[in-house]
Amino acid sequence: MNRAELTRRLVAKLRRGEAVIGGIGNTNFDLWAAGQRPENFYMLRSMGLAVPIALGVALAQPARRTFVLEGDGSLLMQLGALGTVAATRPANLTIVAFDNGMYQITGKQRSLTASTVDLVAVAKGAGLAQSEWARDEAHFESLVDRALEAPGPWFIGARIDAAKPAGVTERDAALIRRRFMAAIAPKA
């Protein structure tokens, strides 16, 4: 599967102001390229922190569904975060893990998922019982549909190719933060 294509399919399903946290590098580049929704938060550095940031958003606003998109390298850097999500059980949080078994942006070095690590098995072991690999694009869409309706937390793994991202995020951190906050601000 292809990250940009899956991201477009996911974003097309978001109709209720869902928050989306895009992990560093190609993951958030493709989120950007899928349409600059104000409810998207783009990480520019801080590898591995997309899941914790999304957990904070999800806990603060339990009525808003929150998605976090991460790559295999970033997830591997902060595996404990999966246990934290499982232990705090946010029903409105879905983790999407794009796994191409490599650190694509730094020169395609092999990551641990290219050898022994199975991210869905890790997620299940961390306590995220609702964890599944998407078999193909249609199955990915059906997993997203379920995550949009039924209580989470959800973990969706997707094995992807090494195609380049479809765009590049603008790098204005303060603007990204302000736009995101305005879009998800609780109504007074």
Partner: protein
């Protein structure tokens, strides 16, 4: 009033409702107090970076939070502070119990302690060390107020003069 009761009072006065922490023996009375108090949502993740990330996300979504840690935990945070908290202008509150000074028996704590203030200064992060019990509520409350008013992080350092003397 004990130092930890003063911290709780200051956090409540500033609408801080989320506490993330990585355990520390010195902070244990405060950790116990926030766990026992339904005002707070309390999360103990696996690493300090995670704890700061959760507070950052929650603040952007409208809930104020603080991260509790010890000196060695702060030493793991340079990247996340430099690449998330400071550039995105997020008022993350950090409460750091100062280990490695004034009678610590661990050499590792003593050495890592010396990295804390240079990192805070280099990143331009407002910080203040509380050394007297009677200052706890004022300093914690004031640091929180300034952080939220200026969209900037703040680090409150708890000296052994407060927690152990």
């Amino acid at each position: 009033m004990s130092w930890h009761a003063s911290v709780v009072k200051a956090l409540k006065a500033n609408e801080v409702r989320l506490v993330t922490y990585i355990p520390d023996n010195v902070l244990a009375p405060l950790i116990d107090a926030v766990h026992a108090d339904p005002w707070f949502r309390v999360i103990c993740p696996a690493r300090e970076e995670e704890a700061v990330g959760i507070v950052a996300g929650a603040w952007m979504a409208g809930v104020r939070g603080i991260t509790l840690m010890q000196t060695s935990g702060f030493a793991t945070l340079a990247n996340v502070l430099a690449s998330l908290i400071v550039p995105y202008q997020i008022p993350a509150l950090l409460l750091i119990s100062e280990r490695g000074t004034l009678g610590d028996h661990q050499l590792g704590q003593a050495i890592v302690c010396r990295t804390m203030r240079p990192v805070l200064q280099t990143l331009g992060i407002e910080h203040f060390a509380i050394e007297r019990l009677e200052d706890v509520e004022f300093v914690v409350g004031s640091m929180a107020k300034q952080a939220y008013a200026t969209q900037a992080p703040a680090a409150v350092i708890l000296s052994p003069l407060v927690t152990k003397k």
